[in-house]
Chain length 311, copies 2
Amino acid sequence: MIEKVIGIDIGGTTIKMALFDLTGLMLDQWHIATNLVNDGEEIPDEIIVSIKKRMAENNQSLDEVLGIGIGVPGPVTEEVVKRAVNLGWTDFPLKQLIENSLDIPVALVNDANAAALGELWKGSSKQIRNIVFVTIGTGVGGGIIVDGKIINGTHASGGEIGHIPVQAEEERICGCGNTNCLECYGSANGMVKTMNQLSNKTVVTNTKEIFDLLQAENPQAQKTLKITIDYLARAIAGIVNTLDPEEIVIGGGVSEAGSVFLEPLKESINDYAFPQIAGNFNLRKAVLGNQAGMYGAAYQVVNTLTKKGRE
Amino acid sequence: MIEKVIGIDIGGTTIKMALFDLTGLMLDQWHIATNLVNDGEEIPDEIIVSIKKRMAENNQSLDEVLGIGIGVPGPVTEEVVKRAVNLGWTDFPLKQLIENSLDIPVALVNDANAAALGELWKGSSKQIRNIVFVTIGTGVGGGIIVDGKIINGTHASGGEIGHIPVQAEEERICGCGNTNCLECYGSANGMVKTMNQLSNKTVVTNTKEIFDLLQAENPQAQKTLKITIDYLARAIAGIVNTLDPEEIVIGGGVSEAGSVFLEPLKESINDYAFPQIAGNFNLRKAVLGNQAGMYGAAYQVVNTLTKKGRE
């Protein structure tokens, strides 16, 4: 018998699932559509049915599955999903519903935190146990991993680094209700807004257009990049001076721009970092893309099993 | 036999030492002067002699001492003191020197981190395992504790929250070499500088004078308090949004001003904190004063012993 775990990443459109061995080798992957009817109440049953069907099709026994990790787009406690606006869930007992049906231990994890764990498990070298994961996409998210474990926080709000306050001359209202959070300036949306403000009209609608203009040495695009990176670098340097992690991992759509974005970001973090850290820290691009959530959800349950085994 | 540990806090003037039982009850305390001759080379021997003498005087056996924790004013690794400018140490093998002589396990810890651990051990309720400790004195220091353990960091720079970059109209050079670190504005020194700048002359030389002027409703003093707290609150909210700790503990000389300082600080952190955290976090004043370092150094070695016991 090969011991296995399942990692699930619930998104607003698709639920991605994969079967792993305990070392993180992906053995199988599949997906189903996210069923949003009845405030997402059908989702647990559809996950259960899909797992049973897939395992049967592959002649695999559920007895070999030691645990199921589930990444969710919202804050989670060990027991419930506190809130997942896109799915319609509030204090939703996802863990219990799946465990009761399949009799397999379930571990919940926030989706950004899952992506961070995925990068730790499969993207970083084995020795690394402490990373700061920053995802720069529509918003700015993060996952803080200390000694191999995610910091979920006292109010399930660990890693909410997109909401670090920044100082700006203007005021941008954040989706969270606060004003001038990092993600108002450091995200793809923030970058587009900055670019259009500097141009005094709507010249771009996405960051790809900004990076195209950068290649043409457009001055507004250059200034936009500089401003965006300065906000991100200050905030990341603040985190780095607080936690002094082994590795900073940058993911999300904007990171796909590659070195044109990551090189000046690293340089700028260097300028703001504590002297003992500056020049000595490791910053890399995330490597798992949209599979990171499945890997990390699986790792979350592997972590839980290891902990239980020790008790 | 009662199992005991010794906690030591090495300062630039005095070395404070105390004997504890494993629950953190202080059984005895004493101190010696810090001998700075020969780049602090005499210090280990003087600590050893002092411990032997004190134990003998009290008819106590060194066999009952399971470990010695030592707080040091500088970054430490598990093995050495990387640098302690005030003592003259660079890559100083303090642990080995004491262990070789007394044959008792030694654990090193940075002094701000020791103070944080002390507050966790004796200042917080037993259930609390995650705190952010901020010490606001001449400078701004900190200690980040996750799951009962200090984050010492990859470059022994964990908790260097005084060096979180802040945005300001002027430029103040920090002792670390960077410009506009939090402690340039949020420390006692920063506060005095701000007050004198607002007054266009030197009206105060310490924060006590500022707090006295505050009582007299001096407008510059009020503005100084507001500015200082805003810098601190932004940085602390950034940490809180990243780590979502169970408790924020404020220590250091400035915290002794009490509620006139701590109440507006808490309010301001509330304004900048992520909505799920705002209004729900716990902030308290440090309670151990200048004994925190001894408590925390002792706790560091208790932690080490427990870890070894589990292996």
